[in-house]
Subunit: 351 residues, 2 copies
């Protein structure tokens, strides 16, 4: 890798329709508890302390890059960070996930959100991005991200993790005006947050609508799509490439694509070949190994990776999981998966 040539970022080349020498690969939650390096830091710092310290966040972001042959670093942050900036504090309860002290339950809670300049209160994220970009090899893409309005709204309303998303859906059905105000607010704040991430050095932006698969198509179209679309279109108009990701979206992928995104991220429930049939061969897909496969034997990992790659048939693809790496994942299996992507690419890709 020499510094006197143009950077060769595979992911950005795929996004730009350029030829590549290997299918690019990165993993959602590639910096995390499955890595000993990360667990050592977590003995001294909480998750939120790591996020709020640009130096520590940069260090964690770079941990998997030092260890694996990855095509992207994703800034270490949490999709709930904007909640604090909006004046809704939360903490992580042991074994329970996030707990919000004052969930949003009515219109007045929506109006009480501290929206003005909320993105300014997340400057530690931008500083971490600047640090990572200055330390990252130029051939590796730096990814910024945020939770999509629906997924963030669901945490705001439920007050934490949820199984049936009853409070969120009832808010949507019964307080439609407040819902639309909330989604519009979240879309605006999220857009400004992501624009600042891009300005700080994030070259690709992933919008995580992780829980949107709990909705029906009508609900997604009416209550969610316009707000994700507002963010994704504005970024596109600024020349910023995006990944639009959700889980359980097998029955709404056409709508996800309609909402926008340079790349559509899908989970393991779908076959990539069928998604291309549905959305068109030129659609750039990201995914979609089941994270559980990375807990299996190396043979199963290789088989499952090949099964995905063999569906591509020259269509534009960024290899990833279908959701985040599980904490129990052996790092050797991450290595095995990457090697399989590289090996397959060396015989199946034209340079």
């Amino acid at each position: 890798m020499t510094s006197d040539r143009q950077p060769y970022q595979r992911i950005m080349r795929v996004c730009g329709g350029l030829p590549i020498d290997s299918t690019p690969v990165w993993f959602m939650r590639q910096a995390g508890r499955y890595m000993e390096e990360y667990r050592r830091l977590r003995q001294r710092y909480s998750l939120l302390e790591l996020c709020r310290s640009p130096e520590l966040a940069a260090e964690v972001t770079l941990q998997p890059i030092k260890r694996f042959d990855l095509d992207a670093a994703i800034i270490f942050a949490d999709i709930l960070l904007p909640l604090e900036a909006l004046g809704v504090p939360f903490h992580f309860a042991k074994g329970e996930g996030p707990v919000l002290e004052k969930p949003v339950r009515q219109a007045s809670d929506v109006h009480a959100l501290d929206v003005v300049d909320a993105e300014e209160r997340l400057s530690f994220v931008y500083q971490a991005i600047e640090l990572v970009r200055s330390r990252l090899e130029p051939d590796i893409t730096l990814i910024g991200f945020a939770g999509a309005p629906f997924t963030v709204a669901s945490y705001l309303i439920e007050g934490g993790h949820s199984r049936h998303f009853v409070k969120t859906k009832l808010f949507m059905y019964e307080q439609a005006e407040a819902w639309h105000t909330l989604m519009s607010t979240l879309a605006d704040v999220t857009l400004r947050y992501l624009q600042r991430q891009a300005k700080a050095g994030a070259q690709l932006i992933q919008l995580f609508d992780s829980w949107v698969g709990i909705l029906g198509r009508h609900e997604y179209s009416e209550y969610v799509l316009p707000y994700s679309a507002r963010i994704l279109r504005a970024l596109q108009e600024s020349g910023i490439r995006t990944v639009h990701f959700g889980t359980g979206t097998g029955a709404m992928l056409d709508l996800i694509k309609r909402a926008g995104g340079t790349v559509i991220g899908v989970d393991w429930r779908v076959d990539l070949s069928e998604v291309w049939d549905l959305l068109g061969d030129k659609t750039i897909l990201q995914g979609n190994l089941d994270p559980v496969v990375l807990l299996a034997s190396p043979e199963r990992v290789k088989e499952a990776v090949l099964r995905i790659l063999d569906q591509t048939q020259g269509r534009p693809h960024i290899f990833n999981l279908g959701h985040g790496i599980l904490p129990e994942t052996p790092p050797e299996n991450v290595e095995t998966a990457i090697q399989q992507v590289r090996q397959w690419s060396s015989t199946n890709r034209e340079r």
Copy 2:
């Protein structure tokens, strides 16, 4: 309703391709905690005590029939009852769902299952079915059911509810032979259990593969489909009509249909019109109101019911939820939904 004419079971007429005067309607978990009558019984008896007493199970089965204008009663039972019969005891822990004392974790656990005549140890279910059938008006269909092999296997292996189904998938990947033995065993026992239910008076059988949507298409095809198909085909060959139901199946509905079932049950994530486009207009669909909608206002309930009915366009349909009724459901909303089905049918159906 007179006894000197032929029974007019709308559900069985839909299954047989006959004209009907109204879209048939029933609700998964229509006997349950949302009804005061049920809660009163539960103050005195546990869930399993209700299941094991034919008299009480019959009483609970008939509670919603007395209160609502439903087209079917579904026998009150639990999909885990066969576990006990197989020698795997379990109990329900408060707020946690089922807890198995000895989960299946290796091949020897599979071989230790007490398979021979397991269905004989579930005779209380058949007795309850006989009691209900004798008390039920002839125009109302009696539905029997069982968990499909995958969903039952997932409980057997996880030992209770699960979020990621890690143990189940790893068992599938790493102990494939034991997995196939387990699934084959469950298919055989389940088939005999369902045949006995039919013999006792269940006119329609629903196979609940509630959690199958956690799988990818390849896994479903290779590890699950053959076993559900074995049950559904054998029932069909005996002239027994079936409903094949799962949630989160939007990306595998063609495979669900391939596995079999007179009727395909779908959850709220799909639009019925698109499922008919995919599976063919003659496919009989059951569903698919989001159970959360029944917690909303009557206006929202009516709207959502109409949105489903208006997609049917004369195609064969049994109205239901996309999953079980939630305990917080106001019974008035169940009434409202049924009335909406009847009212829509009176203007949209030709007799």
